[in-house]
Amino acid sequence: MWSNLLRFRGAFAIVALAVLSLTLAFDGTLAFYIHPRYNIFTISMGIIAVGLAVVASVFYRGEDHPPTGKHQHRQSTRTIEKFSALLVTGFVVLAILLPPTTLSSFTATNRAFNEGALNTEMQAPTGLSREAFALLTVRDWASLISQNQDPAFYRGKTVNAVGTVSASDERDVFLLTRFVVTCCAVDAQPVSISVFLPGWQEDFAVDDWVLVGGGFQSAGLLGLSEGLAVVPTEIGKTEVPREPYLF
């Protein structure tokens, strides 16, 4: 039993993770982990991995040449193998059992907000109707704010953005947050805009997905320390978007 588990631990891991990737793609939750441009490649390679496993299950004959070497070295190698087999098995079982989820506000706070993922060439859609602004994402708004903090520019322009709730330094303000992903969740960079809502803690928990509608006001008018914040005219919890990260 042990020897079989040890011998096939890699094949077990590769097939289980391949099937997991395929089920994530089927659920539409692969985007919780990787950029959608990799979906077809991931699915194709997952199918090939399963195919190779099927071939191996039929044709594999086992090792003809058992390992040789000093007894003590074999002992320590086997201990490492057992440990890695347990670790891989535990991780794969957890990966299968735990429902897919996105990164939380812990990572958003751990990485600097609005440091690396802003679109520095973002052009405000000045020539378009005000409704066009309602289509902007959290990243778009954060990019605009990084370039222009004049409250007059934002007057009458409507925010209609989805994101998660992250706590801020100001008691009456939370950060509407999204992650921007280049390749996979590992490189996710948080972007956020401030939302002024006294007592928000009573209605929302950190990491809740919310839809915020409203307009910007300057911090001075709201009694805040700096910048601009959205004053919501409508706000409510919402489902996790199909693509929770911005790409």
């Binding site: 993770l17 089920t23 299950s57 039929v58 670790l87 990572t107 390749c183």
Partner: protein, 324 residues
């Protein structure tokens, strides 16, 4: 294999699908630090897995379906010229760095020297056309970042290949297990092609997947444990900024084919040499790669590799910061 293996595999596949379906409906994810560690590690695994499968598949093709004589016949006998050509294999085998590990193992299984295979392993992710195109899309020809990356990576790979080729006993650069596997190539053990394919799939996945899983877990833990701004607060110093971005590249373990997009937003904060050091060092040495390299090379070899690549990247980055 035993007769019960195919039905057992089928039962396992059905069980995984059923468990996923059940857990989606009945379990709630937990939130916070631990969940993020898990999500980050799983993201790294899901992102790397297709490249590992592709790398194993190519290694199988190289070892089972391509005659050994063909792999050697058209390569120059001169070691410098041979490594110069081997380090361009990445142009026609556009696999990410983790997928190159099984392929490099396959090349050694087919008689390539340690120096040759390592030259391929280090150069391939940087001369990969996808990497070149994405780096061009991100930076164009600004500040010589693209050219410095390609030339720098190519030279460092050949430098290391030359260094390792001077070792009096190259087999000692490899782990005992892998050196033994090279001596007894699966192709010699098995009779049919399908048995060889099976044997290679089992041995390569067993060598690589535990290492990749451990590497992904460590990378996830470091990402959760080390605040990003600690590294990024060092952007304007010509030397420290290079070290900071090399440390960042080591920690995040992002693929070479997209790392240019990842680092692009930092180009305003960091000097061009630091960006180049990130782009050259990251594909060669990071947490995930060290774990994968450990399946094949001794810690001493990996230490030498990390030291040479690190010093060369540091030198390249610092000189660029002084000149550009």
């Amino acid at each position: 294999m035993r007769k019960w293996a195919p039905p057992l595999l089928l039962a396992g596949l059905i069980a995984v699908i059923a468990l996923r379906s059940w857990s989606n409906q009945n379990l709630e994810p937990f939130r916070g630090q631990l969940q993020d560690l898990f999500t980050l590690s799983l993201a790294l695994l899901v992102e790397s897995l297709p490249f590992i499968v592709l790398g194993i598949s190519l290694a199988i093709v190289v070892q089972v379906f391509i005659p050994p004589s063909w792999l050697h016949s058209w390569l120059p006998a001169n070691p410098f010229a041979r490594r110069a050509i081997v380090s361009l294999f990445g142009i026609v085998l556009p696999v990410c760095e983790c997928g190159n590990v099984p392929l490099a193992r396959g090349l050694m299984g087919r008689g390539y020297s340690v120096g040759d295979s390592l030259t391929f392993l280090l150069a391939a992710p940087i001369v990969n056309p996808i990497t070149i195109v994405t780096t061009y899309q991100a930076f164009g020809f600004d500040n010589g970042i693209l050219v410095a990356r390609i030339v720098g990576g190519y030279v460092i790979a050949n430098l290391l290949g030359w260094l390792l080729s001077r070792h009096p006993d190259p087999e000692k650069l490899l782990t005992t297990r892998f050196a033994r596997e090279c001596k007894v190539a699966p192709a010699e053990k098995s009779t049919s092609k399908w048995e060889q394919v099976s044997s290679l799939f089992i041995s390569e996945s067993t060598a690589l997947m535990p290492a990749l899983t451990v590497g992904a877990l460590i990378a996830g833990a470091i990402q959760v444990g080390v605040p990003r701004e600690t590294l990024l607060a060092l952007g304007s110093d010509p030397l420290i900024s290079v070290l900071a971005l090399m440390a960042l590249a080591f920690v995040i373990s992002v693929c070479a084919s997209v790392d240019a997009f990842y680092i692009l937003p930092f180009a305003q904060t960091f000097l061009p040499g630091s960006i180049v050091a990130f782009l050259v060092f990251g594909p060669l040495i990071d947490v995930k790669m060290v774990a994968l390299l450990r399946t094949t090379y001794t810690m001493r070899t990996i230490g030498l590799l990390a030291a040479v690549v690190g010093l060369a990247s540091l030198l390249l980055g610092t000189v660029m910061n002084s000149v550009v």
